[in-house]
Protein backbone atom coordinates (compact mmCIF):
# COMPACT_ATOMS: atom_id res chain seq x y z
CA UNK A 1 0.00 0.00 0.00
CA UNK A 2 1.31 3.39 -0.93
CA UNK A 3 -0.04 6.89 -1.37
CA UNK A 4 0.07 6.54 -5.15
CA UNK A 5 -2.25 3.53 -5.41
CA UNK A 6 -4.77 5.10 -3.04
CA UNK A 7 -4.76 8.30 -5.08
CA UNK A 8 -5.11 6.22 -8.25
CA UNK A 9 -8.23 4.61 -6.79
CA UNK A 10 -9.56 8.07 -5.92
CA UNK A 11 -8.81 9.28 -9.45
CA UNK A 12 -10.62 6.28 -10.94
CA UNK A 13 -13.72 6.88 -8.82
CA UNK A 14 -13.61 10.60 -9.67
CA UNK A 15 -13.29 9.91 -13.41
CA UNK A 16 -16.20 7.45 -13.43
CA UNK A 17 -18.20 10.17 -11.66
CA UNK A 18 -17.18 12.72 -14.29
CA UNK A 19 -18.39 10.37 -17.02
CA UNK A 20 -21.72 9.88 -15.26
CA UNK A 21 -22.28 13.57 -14.55
CA UNK A 22 -21.57 14.48 -18.18
CA UNK A 23 -23.34 11.65 -19.98
CA UNK A 24 -26.52 10.87 -18.06
CA UNK A 25 -29.78 12.44 -19.14
CA UNK A 26 -31.79 11.65 -16.05
CA UNK A 27 -31.24 14.26 -13.33
CA UNK A 28 -31.12 11.59 -10.62
CA UNK A 29 -28.48 9.57 -12.49
CA UNK A 30 -26.48 12.75 -12.99
CA UNK A 31 -26.49 13.26 -9.22
CA UNK A 32 -25.09 9.75 -8.79
CA UNK A 33 -22.13 10.85 -10.90
CA UNK A 34 -21.59 13.86 -8.64
CA UNK A 35 -21.72 11.60 -5.56
CA UNK A 36 -19.09 9.31 -7.06
CA UNK A 37 -16.80 12.29 -7.60
CA UNK A 38 -17.16 13.20 -3.91
CA UNK A 39 -16.51 9.55 -2.98
CA UNK A 40 -13.16 9.83 -4.74
CA UNK A 41 -12.40 12.98 -2.77
CA UNK A 42 -13.05 11.26 0.58
CA UNK A 43 -10.72 8.38 -0.33
CA UNK A 44 -8.00 10.81 -1.43
CA UNK A 45 -8.32 12.90 1.75
CA UNK A 46 -8.10 9.77 3.93
CA UNK A 47 -4.99 8.65 2.01
CA UNK A 48 -3.37 12.07 2.49
CA UNK A 49 -4.10 11.85 6.21
CA UNK A 50 -2.49 8.41 6.46
CA UNK A 51 0.59 8.95 4.31
CA UNK A 52 1.45 12.65 4.51
CA UNK A 53 0.08 14.30 7.61
CA UNK A 54 -1.08 11.78 10.18
CA UNK A 55 -0.26 14.13 12.99
CA UNK A 56 -2.54 16.89 11.72
CA UNK A 57 -6.31 16.35 11.67
CA UNK A 58 -6.98 18.76 8.79
CA UNK A 59 -7.37 15.93 6.25
CA UNK A 60 -10.01 14.34 8.43
CA UNK A 61 -11.87 17.66 8.38
CA UNK A 62 -11.78 17.54 4.57
CA UNK A 63 -13.50 14.14 4.74
CA UNK A 64 -16.19 15.61 7.01
CA UNK A 65 -16.70 18.52 4.59
CA UNK A 66 -16.99 16.13 1.62
CA UNK A 67 -19.55 14.00 3.46
CA UNK A 68 -21.61 17.10 4.27
CA UNK A 69 -21.30 18.21 0.64
CA UNK A 70 -22.74 14.83 -0.43
CA UNK A 71 -25.70 15.22 1.89
CA UNK A 72 -26.38 18.80 0.75
CA UNK A 73 -26.00 17.88 -2.92
CA UNK A 74 -28.48 15.05 -2.64
CA UNK A 75 -31.05 17.02 -0.66
CA UNK A 76 -30.96 20.07 -2.94
CA UNK A 77 -30.79 17.87 -6.05
CA UNK A 78 -33.96 16.02 -5.12
CA UNK A 79 -35.70 19.27 -4.17
CA UNK A 80 -34.83 20.78 -7.57
CA UNK A 81 -35.94 17.58 -9.33
CA UNK A 82 -39.24 17.69 -7.45
CA UNK A 83 -39.74 21.38 -8.24
CA UNK A 84 -39.03 21.03 -11.96
CA UNK A 85 -41.05 17.81 -12.21
CA UNK A 86 -44.00 19.51 -10.56
CA UNK A 87 -43.75 22.60 -12.71
CA UNK A 88 -43.14 21.03 -16.12
CA UNK A 89 -43.27 17.25 -15.87
CA UNK A 90 -39.60 17.12 -16.71
CA UNK A 91 -37.07 14.69 -15.28
CA UNK A 92 -34.38 14.81 -17.92
CA UNK A 93 -31.76 17.49 -18.33
CA UNK A 94 -32.33 17.80 -22.07
CA UNK A 95 -35.99 18.71 -21.57
CA UNK A 96 -35.10 21.50 -19.18
CA UNK A 97 -33.27 23.54 -21.77
CA UNK A 98 -35.70 26.48 -22.03
CA UNK A 99 -33.04 29.08 -21.44
CA UNK A 100 -30.56 27.49 -23.82
CA UNK A 101 -31.11 29.94 -26.66
Amino acid sequence: MSLEVFLLLAAALFSVGVYGALSQQSIVMLMMGLELMLNGITVAAAAFWYFIGPGAPSDQVVVVVAVVAMAVEMAVGFAVTTAIFRARDVDMTDMAADLKE
Binding site: V5, A46, Y50, I52, Q60
Partner: protein
Protein backbone atom coordinates in the same frame (compact mmCIF):
# COMPACT_ATOMS: atom_id res chain seq x y z
CA UNK B 1 -2.97 -8.67 4.32
CA UNK B 2 -3.51 -4.93 4.08
CA UNK B 3 -2.44 -4.87 0.45
CA UNK B 4 -4.80 -7.72 -0.46
CA UNK B 5 -7.68 -5.99 1.31
CA UNK B 6 -6.83 -2.73 -0.45
CA UNK B 7 -6.87 -4.26 -3.93
CA UNK B 8 -10.04 -6.29 -3.34
CA UNK B 9 -11.86 -3.21 -2.02
CA UNK B 10 -10.44 -0.94 -4.72
CA UNK B 11 -11.40 -3.19 -7.63
CA UNK B 12 -14.85 -3.76 -6.12
CA UNK B 13 -15.38 -0.01 -5.56
CA UNK B 14 -14.46 0.92 -9.13
CA UNK B 15 -16.38 -2.04 -10.61
CA UNK B 16 -19.53 -1.04 -8.71
CA UNK B 17 -19.04 2.58 -9.76
CA UNK B 18 -18.94 1.52 -13.41
CA UNK B 19 -21.95 -0.76 -12.86
CA UNK B 20 -24.00 2.30 -11.83
CA UNK B 21 -23.93 3.60 -15.40
CA UNK B 22 -24.23 0.20 -17.10
CA UNK B 23 -27.27 -1.48 -15.55
CA UNK B 24 -30.69 -0.94 -17.08
CA UNK B 25 -32.68 -0.42 -13.91
CA UNK B 26 -32.21 2.79 -11.95
CA UNK B 27 -33.03 0.95 -8.72
CA UNK B 28 -30.13 -1.43 -9.39
CA UNK B 29 -27.95 1.58 -10.18
CA UNK B 30 -28.77 3.02 -6.74
CA UNK B 31 -27.67 -0.12 -4.96
CA UNK B 32 -24.55 -0.43 -7.10
CA UNK B 33 -23.70 3.11 -6.02
CA UNK B 34 -24.30 2.12 -2.39
CA UNK B 35 -21.93 -0.85 -2.82
CA UNK B 36 -19.29 1.45 -4.30
CA UNK B 37 -19.60 3.78 -1.30
CA UNK B 38 -19.36 0.88 1.14
CA UNK B 39 -16.16 -0.39 -0.50
CA UNK B 40 -14.79 3.16 -0.47
CA UNK B 41 -15.62 3.41 3.24
CA UNK B 42 -13.80 0.08 3.69
CA UNK B 43 -10.66 1.70 2.28
CA UNK B 44 -11.03 4.56 4.75
CA UNK B 45 -11.38 2.12 7.65
CA UNK B 46 -8.34 0.28 6.30
CA UNK B 47 -6.40 3.54 6.63
CA UNK B 48 -7.24 3.70 10.32
CA UNK B 49 -10.02 6.29 10.20
CA UNK B 50 -12.61 3.99 11.79
CA UNK B 51 -15.00 6.70 12.88
CA UNK B 52 -15.21 8.49 9.51
CA UNK B 53 -15.51 5.17 7.68
CA UNK B 54 -18.43 4.06 9.82
CA UNK B 55 -20.06 7.49 9.49
CA UNK B 56 -19.88 7.14 5.71
CA UNK B 57 -21.32 3.60 5.87
CA UNK B 58 -24.26 4.67 8.04
CA UNK B 59 -24.92 7.84 6.08
CA UNK B 60 -24.72 6.21 2.67
CA UNK B 61 -27.08 3.38 3.59
CA UNK B 62 -29.68 5.96 4.67
CA UNK B 63 -28.99 8.20 1.69
CA UNK B 64 -29.28 5.42 -0.88
CA UNK B 65 -32.48 4.07 0.65
CA UNK B 66 -33.98 7.56 0.33
CA UNK B 67 -32.56 7.78 -3.17
CA UNK B 68 -34.24 4.46 -4.06
CA UNK B 69 -37.59 6.00 -3.07
CA UNK B 70 -36.96 8.95 -5.39
CA UNK B 71 -35.88 6.53 -8.09
CA UNK B 72 -39.21 4.77 -7.88
CA UNK B 73 -40.90 8.19 -8.14
CA UNK B 74 -39.04 9.44 -11.18
CA UNK B 75 -37.62 6.50 -13.02
CA UNK B 76 -38.93 5.56 -16.42
CA UNK B 77 -37.84 1.94 -16.44
CA UNK B 78 -38.81 0.54 -13.05
CA UNK B 79 -37.62 -3.02 -13.20
CA UNK B 80 -35.03 -2.84 -15.91
CA UNK B 81 -37.24 -4.98 -18.12
CA UNK B 82 -36.32 -3.07 -21.22
CA UNK B 83 -32.83 -2.14 -22.30
CA UNK B 84 -32.36 1.44 -21.26
CA UNK B 85 -29.97 3.96 -22.65
CA UNK B 86 -30.39 7.49 -21.42
CA UNK B 87 -27.15 9.12 -22.32
CA UNK B 88 -26.17 12.13 -24.34
CA UNK B 89 -22.80 12.97 -25.74
CA UNK B 90 -21.38 9.64 -24.66
CA UNK B 91 -18.23 9.86 -26.76
CA UNK B 92 -17.40 13.33 -25.41
CA UNK B 93 -18.09 12.23 -21.84
CA UNK B 94 -15.89 9.15 -22.17
CA UNK B 95 -13.15 11.26 -23.67
CA UNK B 96 -13.40 13.86 -20.91
CA UNK B 97 -13.43 11.20 -18.18
CA UNK B 98 -10.44 9.46 -19.76
CA UNK B 99 -8.54 12.73 -19.99
CA UNK B 100 -9.34 13.58 -16.37
CA UNK B 101 -8.12 10.16 -15.22
CA UNK B 102 -4.96 10.33 -17.33
CA UNK B 103 -4.02 13.79 -16.10
CA UNK B 104 -4.76 12.90 -12.46
CA UNK B 105 -2.70 9.70 -12.78
CA UNK B 106 0.15 11.63 -14.39
CA UNK B 107 0.02 14.13 -11.53
CA UNK B 108 -0.05 11.36 -8.93
CA UNK B 109 3.14 9.79 -10.28
CA UNK B 110 4.97 13.00 -11.20
CA UNK B 111 4.49 14.99 -8.00
CA UNK B 112 7.25 14.34 -5.46
CA UNK B 113 5.09 13.64 -2.43
CA UNK B 114 6.68 14.49 0.90
CA UNK B 115 7.69 11.31 2.67
CA UNK B 116 6.80 11.80 6.28
CA UNK B 117 7.34 8.91 8.59
CA UNK B 118 4.36 7.06 9.91
CA UNK B 119 3.69 9.04 13.05
CA UNK B 120 0.13 8.09 13.82
CA UNK B 121 -1.89 9.62 16.60
CA UNK B 122 -3.18 7.10 19.12
CA UNK B 123 -6.78 8.18 18.62
CA UNK B 124 -7.58 9.91 15.32
CA UNK B 125 -11.24 10.32 16.28
CA UNK B 126 -10.27 12.28 19.39
CA UNK B 127 -8.00 14.39 17.18
CA UNK B 128 -10.82 15.12 14.77
CA UNK B 129 -13.24 16.08 17.53
CA UNK B 130 -10.69 18.32 19.21
CA UNK B 131 -9.86 20.09 15.97
CA UNK B 132 -13.51 20.54 14.95
CA UNK B 133 -14.25 22.09 18.33
CA UNK B 134 -10.99 24.05 18.33
CA UNK B 135 -8.94 25.33 15.37
CA UNK B 136 -11.52 24.16 12.82
CA UNK B 137 -14.50 25.61 14.63
CA UNK B 138 -15.19 27.97 11.72
CA UNK B 139 -15.49 24.98 9.36
CA UNK B 140 -17.90 23.29 11.73
CA UNK B 141 -20.02 26.45 12.08
CA UNK B 142 -20.12 26.90 8.30
CA UNK B 143 -21.20 23.28 7.87
CA UNK B 144 -23.95 23.79 10.43
CA UNK B 145 -25.25 26.94 8.73
CA UNK B 146 -25.04 25.25 5.32
CA UNK B 147 -27.07 22.28 6.52
CA UNK B 148 -29.66 24.59 8.04
CA UNK B 149 -29.88 26.62 4.82
CA UNK B 150 -30.24 23.34 2.90
CA UNK B 151 -33.21 22.32 5.03
CA UNK B 152 -34.93 25.66 4.35
CA UNK B 153 -34.11 25.56 0.63
CA UNK B 154 -35.33 22.00 0.11
CA UNK B 155 -38.64 22.70 1.84
CA UNK B 156 -39.13 25.91 -0.18
CA UNK B 157 -38.27 24.19 -3.47
CA UNK B 158 -40.31 21.08 -2.86
CA UNK B 159 -43.44 22.73 -1.45
CA UNK B 160 -46.25 22.91 -3.94
CA UNK B 161 -47.10 26.58 -3.58
CA UNK B 162 -45.35 29.60 -2.22
CA UNK B 163 -47.15 32.42 -0.41
CA UNK B 164 -47.21 34.48 -3.60
CA UNK B 165 -49.17 31.71 -5.33
CA UNK B 166 -51.65 31.54 -2.50
CA UNK B 167 -52.08 35.23 -1.63
CA UNK B 168 -51.21 37.09 -4.84
CA UNK B 169 -48.33 39.41 -5.56
CA UNK B 170 -49.24 41.90 -2.81
CA UNK B 171 -49.77 39.09 -0.30
CA UNK B 172 -53.20 40.55 0.49
CA UNK B 173 -55.38 38.15 -1.44
CA UNK B 174 -57.65 35.58 0.08
CA UNK B 175 -56.01 32.31 0.89
CA UNK B 176 -56.80 29.74 -1.76
Amino acid sequence: MGAVAFWVLAVAAVACAVTVFVVDSMARATFALLASFLFGAGEIILLGLDYLGVVIVVMMIMEMVIMAVFMVMYMMNPAGLMPMSMVHNQRGSLLTAGTVFASLAAGIFLVPWPARGPHRPADPTFDLGKSLMGPHMLTMMLLGVTLFATMVVTVVLASQQGRYDRLGDDLKGKAR
